[in-house]
Symmetry: C2
Subunit: 459 residues, 2 copies
Amino acid sequence: MDIITTRELKERLGELQGQEVTLRGWIRNHRKQKNMGFIDFFDGTCFRNPQVVYDNNLSGFNEIQALRVGSAVRVTGKVVPSYKDPETPEIQASAVILEGDCPEDYPLQPKKHSVEFLREIAYLRPRTRLFQAVFRVRSVAAMAIHSYFQDRGYVYVHTPLITGNDAEGAGNTFTVTTLPPDRQGHPEEDFFGKPTSLAVTGQLEGETFALAFSKIYTFGPTFRAENSNTKTHAAEFWMIEPEIAFMDLPELMDLEEDFLKSIVSTVMEKCPDELKFLDGFTGGGLLAKLTALKESRFARVTHEEAITILRQAMEKGTDFKFEPTYGGDTAKEHEKYLTEEYFHSPVFIYDWPKEIKAFYMYQNEDGKTVSAVDLLVPGAGELMGGSQREHREDLLISRMNELGISTEEMYWYVNLRKFGGCVHSGFGMGFERLLIYLTGVDNIRDVIPYFRTPMNCDF
Amino acid sequence: MDIITTRELKERLGELQGQEVTLRGWIRNHRKQKNMGFIDFFDGTCFRNPQVVYDNNLSGFNEIQALRVGSAVRVTGKVVPSYKDPETPEIQASAVILEGDCPEDYPLQPKKHSVEFLREIAYLRPRTRLFQAVFRVRSVAAMAIHSYFQDRGYVYVHTPLITGNDAEGAGNTFTVTTLPPDRQGHPEEDFFGKPTSLAVTGQLEGETFALAFSKIYTFGPTFRAENSNTKTHAAEFWMIEPEIAFMDLPELMDLEEDFLKSIVSTVMEKCPDELKFLDGFTGGGLLAKLTALKESRFARVTHEEAITILRQAMEKGTDFKFEPTYGGDTAKEHEKYLTEEYFHSPVFIYDWPKEIKAFYMYQNEDGKTVSAVDLLVPGAGELMGGSQREHREDLLISRMNELGISTEEMYWYVNLRKFGGCVHSGFGMGFERLLIYLTGVDNIRDVIPYFRTPMNCDF
């Protein structure tokens, strides 16, 4: 008789009917009647959990009835048809053995807990149904991303986390040091002999690999020391940054669209039970939103066209708090209008005013815009940001000079343009932002195992 | 006519014979004769690169002959049989168009460069054959690891990098701070309101997820502020840490053995050209070593048995610099003897003296040892370290007290034992250590895209 997981039980349910199996896991709920009992059992390998039924013919009936919620148990029993739901396995127990006890005051009693309370017991929350769903989606989505790129010949690159660059602009970074407090300010004595911080992007190093392997991607942690307490900001999060040689902006949009649809499809295929639960938990509409995304054709407009659409809407009476202006950034309300009311689909906005975008973006002929593109999606706003990179050495240098970015310190980045530089493009996607979109859970704190935000660094 | 990659060219070589294709990539070498020329072309998607042949019938012959090594080019031509090697594609060019120029003083001229020189130009070294091989193996091995666990129902967990824990023992960590130099030493004013550092392990948080999902793994960066300049130490490296509920030590060894053989098999299958090159580059023996590993049965001995074997060897005349002692750690020379001379196979050494192992390891009945296991492999020494975890609350607490580790600060880790705790085990493997083993390249600086070591934080 095999010891199996609940995932195997689900996958082999037909074949296992009538067979005896052994499972190991935990008690989520335990309902007792005089002559029998029902255990909601889970082992975390599968969202669809079996119910364990036992009656008073079982030796040790009284001890089993005394088993508390949260305990680890080993259950042996026959797989029987469920009366409630043919797809939910039921086990008629022949033995239930305690593997690890749990006291009465276990915080995860079978009742509704607020997500705020669950954050305080973040080390236990993965045992709840909500976080079983969220963190499996997280794992499946991560794998889907790896598979997408690897299947297409991309090389996975681990860009450095500790960096001496300050290229994306000073501030907002965490300092990394081994100096004692009284020797701070003497970077020449520090571990690396110079000031170092935690990386805010892997893109620049990613570009060096793209100009060697043609197609690369990164997938790693990223850090921002922004003192903002919003639902979408965390100090530590994971980011995906593909970079592709010989790719221009329209091709980049093709890639982003295909990539996102593919990830959504894979997660829908691999996590149907989890998404169904999340759909209900988040008030409905999640599955419809994801299905619509897969089937939609993403709109593509320039920043100028987008502003025109927004200004026309304003003239027709749409009430924006911020006025949409040519040359200016868009606000959340604008993004919402474009995706949810105007296009009813994801929207690429490209050719942004160069003043509000980064130094490394390809400068368009018009002298005013750069080949940058943001992807906005209904219900989540900006999901990806990308650009064709400035591959012309002279134009890159003059832009860096304008912005006061040291071409000397960044000699290697500039030299990429000199040594066989070519058209290339890439985008970045915050992994947690994707997860917020995929799960419908609206707070970044609830899609990260252990979140780091201002004044919060627990566990 | 399609634009294809060299990988597609290799995979579809038969079908494409006689067809015209376009490729985009770089010139690695350019040999010129009076009436023709040969370009060693690469785009990084494939290790087996085509040769581009052109002759003076081609319009622009003189301009093409002037193309320099390192330049980015677009090549169009007919796929023709190669005289040299039927598996190496050859392109009879009908057009070679410069996409990005490269000057005479390009550092990567077609001659042998030392690895030390290539580290100085780490942003260009991925274009060399050595690093094309190494970093593709890195990417393929990373994917093989993800696939191994995901195929077996493990959940991928991103454990936090910034941590307030100091559980593995003080020192050797990087401090993370946003305080200016003159406010250091006032952690209450810092970003998280307390002292924080970069994580040295994700295991403890991993355990919290294993007791919710049964089988989990981590794969992320890890940091050590060790001031050691050896071939195997880096301040920033990637680590894999699976953790499995209801698994004991013998089962953990089964897992480690199966896992390692599977990764080696996958890399051998997916990177035959790269490994063949690396085998030659590293002096031969790499492929034989990897093949032997796949087919070997890993030996299993207790620490005590290992010491007995070593002492017997010493008595018979083996010259060790360090005396093997019961209760003591083993030295590199001992590991070498056990794997390469005694067992001729990988060796698990288990049941280690508890004084030299970590607080969280399962305390054996003998009162002297813990259920820890190190995996030693021929040619690389220790590759994995694991243990069954102490799941008995009282024994964990008394061990933490003995070692002065705060049970109050680590309340959540202790509580895991109280709330449905169960037998569980896990191991850790340094990803770069695996890569040193897989590639035969013996310096950690050469298997990481941008290495961080004392006084080195470039790019």
